[in-house]
Amino acid sequence: MNQNHRTQAGPRFRRWGIALLLTAAVCGVASAQSQPPITILINTSPWLPSFKSLVSQYEKETGNKVNLNVVPFSAMIQKSLNAVSSKTSEYDILNLNEQWYSQFYSGGLVTPIKDIDPSYTLPKQVIEYAYADRWDPKVGASTKNGEVYGFPINGNIQLLFYRKDLFAKHNLQPPKTWADVEKDAKILNDPPNVYGFVTRTSPPNYNFQAWLHSYGGTIISLDQSTGTWSVNIDNAAAHQALDEWLKLTWSYSPPNYANMGQSDEISLMASGHLAMFIVASAAESNFTNPNTSSVVGKIGAAVTPGPTADARAPTSGIWVMGIPHNLPKAKQLAAAKFLEWAMTKPAELAYAKAGGVPVRQDVYEELAKDPKYGWWMQAVADSTPYIKAQVRIKETPQILSVIDRVLGQAVIKKMTADQALKQAATEIHQIMVKGGYKMAPLSSQ
């Protein structure tokens, strides 16, 4: 009787109890990690497939859902602005390009991580690309003391890509100085089969900054102690840089040098008609893919040259991921959790192995030894100490379009280099005065 009673009620009670405990345990574990699904805005690019694999890994590991909205590059800024201007953003994470992220930081359109997840600190191994991830609203620039507003996701910097087979044939080493570049380009220049060197002229501002920064020049700079900005594009360093850049543009390029876009110069290299050029590291995938490249295995990568071997200045052209301000707290937290996960070493390592451009120094150093990735990752690892930033204020796109315009005129010789820089300085100074910045007077050269 008692036994009967027990066989019915006892084990059943125990079974229910165990079931309950298990459920509670599962829920407990899940609630620590489970987040509402998030949507990320991203563009079609060479690193999209690797980002997709990063996302699916996150989904597998945590069970959280991530949706990707893939749009053309030309739509990114428009859609990002639309999203942050509406009542509730349709995207939980935005991909912001270095050339326009300042608009989002300064306009308060993305929320700093401190306001979402106060306990989080960015790992030391994450390269900050001259503090591209930070913003100091008081100063109006990306400085060391600013809060983290965006997570770097795409660590694009400029590299020198060169035909190592041609260099080997002529017993040349990859150039370390601009003088070396000229010498090597002259030797290898064999039009129309191989051109010695091309620069990007459509638009030119990003490419030019590799020269400008290597000579120690800058477009603008901030004196943090006084809070005064100065326009430096008309200084001696800038003149030297532009003269060198123009010389290389005119001397060893095909006749269409005045309209050389990024896609054009990459195609030239991939079809075997170019000896060397400077471009963002993300271009590497075009050279290893037999579907697009006639020179598979023949391309090497090196740190961008400078006037001396110590004065190099690969300029960053990164993408950061920001969380829009107009989202409910739960969504912002979910987005933050994904970004924090993406910054960890295992995630970054997997991302790099899938073809992405990672942002952690330790990942670069580890993969630099890897035969598959080392050919370009070594160069990136070596470049880290030299990385320079682009202009990062709200008026950046306006300033860059001034640079584009005057450089374009200089390339077609409608303006001399001196006139071009003087014009640029005057206009940029005006732009910043209008923007309300405290400006040092324009020094007349």
Binding site: L41, T44, N67, V71, P72, S74, S267
Partner: protein, 277 residues
């Protein structure tokens, strides 16, 4: 045959032949390119083993072109049908009835003004409207946008054709006791078929090829149309010429089918007979 030997006939033939060749040449170059591997395209070789990979890429992986085609068809056909009906009625009303002069001038000015505004003016507001109405990222949002984009154009072209309809026909119909609507559908429309066909083709094509609104009002393949898919191949680091040319050819095919079908209506013959006898 005799006609073509006159100087005028010769000129005519030469003009047509040159025009046809000039029109087809870039299209053929694009067609051939679409069957090349990207490596051969940028290497500039004349011939290379043909490949279907560029077309395959449209439908596999993240190409999604079947879905995009469906959306394009719904958005373009839907907006065209609505526009044809609305614009025909409006054009008929404006041309065949007595309106105060000031009123017609105002309406024309309004239509022109809307047509003149750069489309980016509408991007922001339409984005907000479509999100509020819940039609964002669907072909319905695009139908809304295309109605605005193409309606003035349609009214203008149709006004022109409706104005040419001979008065006597309508008066005859009135004598026979037809309603105004009946006159419109049974007498006037058949005569203006060339104009309506031309307008229909144009509104369809402008909707079919629109990029700006498709870009702003959609964000996933649920709503995206073919031009957005095509633009995905013009990337920042490399323009994927193989895929781009393949998608451009593909995008033109439905429009060509429509034109082959509709251009039959842009022929003489329907105008004849009505007035004679």
């Amino acid at each position: 045959m005799r006609r073509s030997l006159t100087p005028y006939g010769l000129l005519r033939t030469v003009l047509i032949v040159v025009a046809v060749i000039a029109t087809l040449l870039p299209v053929l170059v694009t067609l051939v390119t679409s069957f090349k591997i990207p490596r051969s395209i940028i290497a500039g070789t004349w011939f290379s083993t043909p490949t279907l990979q560029n077309y395959a890429a449209l439908f596999t992986g993240s190409g999604n072109f079947l879905r995009l085609t469906g959306n394009s068809l719904i958005a373009s056909l839907g907006s065209t049908l609505i526009i044809i009906v609305v614009a025909s009625l409006a054009a008929y009303s404006l041309t065949r009835f007595r309106w105060p002069r000031a009123w017609t001038v105002t309406v024309i000015a309004l239509l022109l003004f809307v047509q003149m505004l750069p489309p980016i003016v509408f991007v922001g507001p339409f984005y907000l409207i479509s999100r509020n109405l819940g039609i964002y990222d669907t072909p319905l949002a695009l139908i809304m946008a295309y109605m605005v984009l193409n309606l003035p154009l349609a009214v203008f072209i149709l006004r022109n054709f409706f104005a040419d309809v001979p008065r006597e026909l309508e008066d005859a119909a009135a004598v026979d006791g037809a309603t105004r609507l009946g006159t419109f559908t049974r007498i006037v429309l058949p005569i203006t078929t060339p104009g309506i066909a031309a307008t229909g083709i144009l509104t369809f094509i402008f909707a079919w090829n629109d990029f700006l609104f498709a870009l702003s009002l959609t964000t996933t393949p649920r709503g995206m149309t073919i031009p957005v898919g095509v633009a995905n191949f013009a990337q920042n680091y490399q323009i994927l010429y193989g895929n781009l040319t393949a998608s451009a050819i593909y995008a033109a095919v439905p429009a060509i089918v429509l034109v082959v079908f509709a251009q039959r209506y842009i022929t003489k013959g329907l105008a004849l007979g009505a007035v004679k006898g």
